[in-house]
């Protein structure tokens, strides 16, 4: 077990190194932070002084090595745009993104699993067909369009829910939460639905196909033959067996949720990491972009590790099973 974890951790190092190199390299030459920092009116001498001051006149690898050393110390530098430590900025935004992502994932699970079970058990009922059709439309609608339509309906026309922001937040240590206030919860609904819809349809379809597979297996047939009631067969045997891939895939999809949060946060002006990232891109704020990509990569490596361990713990045989079902 320890050896397994260690080998996984060792594998993560080149990944992280590559990501840091890429994230640094990709932004080192895009845009020009100097112009943004100087504003509209300045002289060439002021410009050159700032370039020197920022170290932008040094060779690429000198800049990169310096960057890496600092990252290892947990120092991502100061945001060009905001003049504040990037680590602080990201820590401030992390709760917003995680609350949004986890709520969206939870929503997707809580709605997606029952829908999947139902459509798996009653393949030909009209409700199943409706669910499937709705889920197909859900998969076919781009996230940004869903968000905009939800704002139009629920914020502008009906006026029920806020169209932007996080509402009132409560600070618990460095963590800020919107889950403890009514306005915070109201503000969370539209973004979470927007973000969770796609995952919900994925989970529904996954549960459905897993159910269909499991229901064909011999032991379910035996269970039926033994005269067990449908309820026990369906939920005690069949569903239990479908849940392992569902949970692991939901875990893996958490990464996708965090990535798609960029789009959702842009539409809803949700003050999370994705919005910080997009604003950094627009302003060529290299330190923030680099830190974001490295942190997201780290997050994914960790999620991957946890999923691996989960698998390892549940059933080593399942490894190839994951391979077959985690197609998306």
């Amino acid at each position: 077990m320890l050896a397994f974890i260690l080998s996984r951790l060792l594998q993560a190092i080149p990944v992280m190194l590559t990501v840091s190199l890429i994230s640094f390299a990709m932004f080192a030459y895009v845009g020009d932070p100097v112009t943004i920092m100087l504003g509209q009116d300045y002289t060439e001498a002021q410009r050159e002084a700032l370039v020197r001051e920022l170290g932008l006149d040094q060779p690429f690898f000198v800049q990169f090595v310096e960057f890496l050393e600092n990252v290892l110390r947990g120092d991502f530098g100061l945001s060009y745009r905001l003049g504040r430590p990037v680590a602080d900025l990201i820590l401030e935004r992390l709760p917003a993104t995680l609350e949004l992502a986890l709520t969206a994932a939870l929503l997707a699970l809580l709605v997606g699993v029952p829908m999947g079970v139902y459509t798996g058990l009653y393949r030909d009922s009209w409700l199943s067909r409706l669910f499937l059709t709705v889920s197909l439309i859900g998969v076919s609608l781009p996230t940004f369009l869903i968000g905009i339509l939800l704002i139009l309906v629920f914020a502008v026309i009906l006026g029920w829910l806020p169209s932007f922001g996080r509402g009132e937040t409560v600070a618990i240590g460095w963590w800020t939460t919107g889950l403890l206030t009514w306005s915070g919860i109201k503000a969370l609904i539209l973004p979470a639905v927007t973000l969770g819809l796609y995952q919900m349809t994925l989970i529904m379809r996954l549960v459905r196909s897993e159910m269909l597979e499991v229901l064909r297996t011999d032991y379910i047939k035996f269970a039926r033959a033994r005269g067990l009631p449908d309820r026990i067969v369906h939920f005690g045997h069949a569903l239990k067996n479908t849940l392992v891939p569902v949970i692991t895939i939901t875990g893996l999809q958490l990464g996708a949720i965090i990535a798609f949060a960029i789009v959702t946060e842009t539409v809803f002006q949700w003050p999370g990491m994705g919005l910080l990232f997009i604003q950094a891109v627009a302003n060529a704020d290299i330190p923030i972009m680099a830190a974001y990509l490295i942190l997201v990569a780290l997050l994914f490596v960790v999620i991957n590790l946890i999923v691996d361990l989960l698998y390892y713990a549940v059933d080593p045989r399942l490894r190839s099973g994951l391979a077959a079902t985690s197609g998306r």
Partner: protein, 529 residues
């Protein structure tokens, strides 16, 4: 919604007897968030719109952008290179410190520091000298008749506080540690910063000790300002319509009609002191981005005139700008000193004439060129460029549009890596020199000359006029020189002017804020009714 609002109003009405001062919050939004609270670090409208509520310069702007006493009660030119400022007594900073001449000297020196972005406003300043506790002299290198205009943009900080918090110099972006002024303020203004969460919210509360509340006209009843940026146009409009914000500084033009029709929204319309124009490379012998080899078509006056004649400015005004633009033939709007109606006339829209001029210049088949354009700097900038590209293509000048974010656009044109580009020029000093010197003077290395003249327009006559405008202290002679420069501008076509931007503000109907041509709301005049 309505019933709930009524219930809330009833609750408020009931609450009144129990509180002496009613809490009135103004919830304000715009696309961009200020990136610092340092008063001398970023000369950007997004920053100063917040700082203007917290900090004050020596001289304040009136509602029509004139000058009125601020922290200075009087000022006069003792000699051509020395201005004297009498300071207001009894003013306190938000932290309780007294305001004195030391603070003024300190602030002007701070604005002169290398990391300051406000240097353009003190470019002629030699030194600031304390005469006594409430008198300061500003000595200039050359006579500067418009110094008070410039100092109306320089905020005054507390010297003691700045030294205690190690912020003697404006924010240094290379610093490993956060500068105190990035999130903290200590001004003398009508509002005091209480919460600063970048990109999320900025909260200011009323400074009841402000000296100016006794001055007639400063009749704000606002107790709290909550500023929250919303970058997405659609979301920002939605928030205003749904009542989540009270005031939007930059409503998108396309939504104005809808906002005007909404029963509880009012829209204020007015011009900004900013002019959009196309400038082109008139120096190189061959354009960088064109299929014409061996000659530069833009060196030919007839080609510049042809592009001018090809623009259907009315179509741009009505369709792209939805009427929110004032068509112009000159370099700066009427609010700027030196403006003359006489030279504010355009070459008429006349595609046939454009084609004829092109043929005369030796391009009967036209030519190809790439137009560089920002897509997030001016109001509808990319759409303007798209429309103009189509108009030029129609007269034979095949125009490829290269639209990009300002982060890429400005470095590109500053490298002079362009053949023709769109620029919008604002005039914070409200004096023509600022425009003429930066945009039309030959880039000869002298401070300020041609620093934004990336097409390298150069005309000895224009340079001579620039020097006259710089040094002449007789206002009449000086304005005559400006008028002459504008006549030359009309004749020489160094730019193809388009329009002065209009800047509509949108707000809930119960809010009153005077519209300002510098696009800066002053909350000391704002009311929630």
């Amino acid at each position: 919604m309505r019933t709930r609002a009524l219930a809330a109003a009833a609750a408020l009405a009931l609450a009144v007897p129990y509180t002496s001062a009613e809490a009135r919050t103004l919830r304000w939004s715009a696309a961009g968030d200020p990136n610092t609270m340092d008063p001398h670090s970023q000369n950007l409208g997004t920053v100063t719109k917040i700082l203007n509520q917290i900090y004050e310069p020596l001289i304040l702007r009136t509602r029509d952008l004139g000058l009125e006493p601020g922290l200075a009660t009087a000022w006069r030119q003792l000699e051509p290179t020395r201005w004297r400022f009498e300071l207001r007594r009894g003013v306190k900073f938000h932290n309780g410190n007294d305001f004195t001449a030391d603070d003024v000297v300190f602030s002007i020196e701070r604005a002169l520091a290398p990391t300051s972005n406000f240097g353009i406003f003190v470019d002629t300043v030699q030194s600031a000298v304390k005469v006594d506790d409430f008198t300061v002299d500003v000595v200039t290198k050359i006579p500067d008749p418009i110094l008070p205009n410039k100092l109306a943009s320089v905020y005054i900080m507390d010297r003691e506080w700045s030294e205690a918090n190690n912020v003697r110099q404006p924010q240094n972006t290379r610093a490993r540690e956060e500068t105190h002024t990035v999130r903290n303020t200590n001004g003398t203004g009508p509002f005091r910063l209480t919460i600063r969460e970048p990109d999320v919210r900025t909260v200011m509360v009323r400074n009841d000790q402000w000296w100016g509340w006794n001055v007639p006209g400063n009749d704000s009843n606002i107790t709290e300002i909550v500023y929250r940026p919303i970058a997405s146009d659609a979301t920002r409009v939605a928030a205003l319509l749904s009542g989540e914000v009270d005031f939007v500084l930059d409503p998108p033009l396309q939504d104005l009609e809808r906002l005007k029709r909404a029963p509880n929204i009012s829209v204020l319309e007015g011009p900004e002191v900013r002019t959009l124009f196309f400038a082109m490379d008139v120096k190189r012998d061959e354009l960088l981005y064109s299929n014409v080899k061996g000659r530069n078509p833009f060196k030919d006056l007839r080609v510049r005139q042809a592009l001018y004649h090809a623009i259907d400015i009315e179509a741009i005004r009505t369709r792209v700008m939805r009427g929110q633009a004032i068509v112009t033939g000159t370099l700066f709007p009427p609010q700027v000193n030196g403006y003359t109606k006489e030279w504010d006339k355009r070459l008429p829209f006349d595609p046939a004439r454009a084609r004829a001029l092109l043929a005369e210049a030796g391009f009967p088949q036209g030519f190809e060129v790439t137009l560089d354009c920002p897509n997030n700097r001016y109001i509808n900038d990319e759409q303007i460029c798209q429309a103009v590209a189509a108009m030029w293509t129609r007269v034979g000048v095949n125009t490829r549009l290269n639209a990009m974010p300002l982060a890429q656009f400005f470095p590109k044109i500053q490298r002079e890596d362009t053949s023709i580009y769109l620029l919008g020029w604002g005039v914070p000093t409200l004096d023509a020199l600022y425009s003429i010197q930066s945009l039309l003077a030959t880039k000869d290395g002298r401070p300020g000359n041609g620093i934004w003249n990336y097409g390298n327009y150069s005309n000895p006559r224009m340079d001579a006029l620039t020097e006259t405008i710089k040094n002449e202290s007789d206002p009449e002679k000086r304005n005559a020189a400006i008028a002459e420069a504008m006549r030359l501008y009309h004749e020489d076509v160094p730019h193809i002017p388009l329009h002065h931007q209009m800047i509509p503000w949108a707000m809930r109907a119960n809010i009153t804020i005077p519209h300002m041509a510098n696009n800066q709301p002053y909350m000391r005049w704002a009311r929630v009714n």
